[in-house]
Symmetry: C2
Subunit: 183 residues, 2 copies
Amino acid sequence: MKPADTSIPKKNTPGKRHRTGEARRVQGEAGAPSFNARIEGIDYDVLEELTGYAVRRAQLSIYDDFAATLGVEGITPQRFSSLVIIGSNPGISQTRLAEVMGIARSGVVSIIDNFEQAGLVERQDSGDRRSYMLRLTPDGQRQLKKYKTAVREHDDRVAQQLSADERQQLRNLLGKLCIGPKA
Amino acid sequence: MKPADTSIPKKNTPGKRHRTGEARRVQGEAGAPSFNARIEGIDYDVLEELTGYAVRRAQLSIYDDFAATLGVEGITPQRFSSLVIIGSNPGISQTRLAEVMGIARSGVVSIIDNFEQAGLVERQDSGDRRSYMLRLTPDGQRQLKKYKTAVREHDDRVAQQLSADERQQLRNLLGKLCIGPKA
């Protein structure tokens, strides 16, 4: 049994559709296998040559490990990132958080509703409904500290076969992907 | 106007819920900003140090470029991978495809329903309903060839700042992530 007050309620809003058509990889869903990057006897064809697929493949494996580590708390990578950004940018608006996360404002509103319900984040009225200022509550700060420790452990496990130099090299190479002409 | 017969119908199955609680990054959704990996004035805190976040950040940027390139055809990275795997492993079962993709069998069934409707994939009865054999139709083969060309172009653009050696190095480093003790 896990204590009810430390977990964020799983969101299951009726009417939220699955609009891109990508099948969700659902934590704990019956029949959802964990991602195995290379299955014997399968010809991956062009996928083997694509940088994008290598990143996607890594991302799927990392997501599985993250879910196994923090999924029971109702924390996903996206929720974790949101909490971190609110924690290190107190007073940030929902609109700006949406921009940082690269998701629609409606998505952020729903994430924040959830955090508010769990008592981790509070919205402070700035006079303009569109620009609520977001802050962690004292409980949110405590929980985030705990999540950070768990995520660091997860991250170290994920990258355990890389030296510190290789991790830096990987970050540098990833940082050079998809940078438009403006950068 | 795009010719109706070359695009895969967008899936919008009622009742499909958004079960993990992660806000979807929806192609073309009103208000969904494209992902900007570094926004000025934002303190990313621990996220800057996490290998997992670097991978996620790259993945989000790549996804945006993929969507801009192939989204109009109704093709997502997941659908593209499915078509490639079916193309290079003709006769593969839905169960095995689910395993390769790391998604629930129900997700694969829905992807295949969609491809079947678009005339790209056919299910061949193997006598056991659970093990339909999947094959591309002649039209599926033609479309996949076209998609491969578009995806290669997208991938070259995404990785344009990396030399061939750096791309290989990146693939090697990514391949070392999240490998369990068995590997």
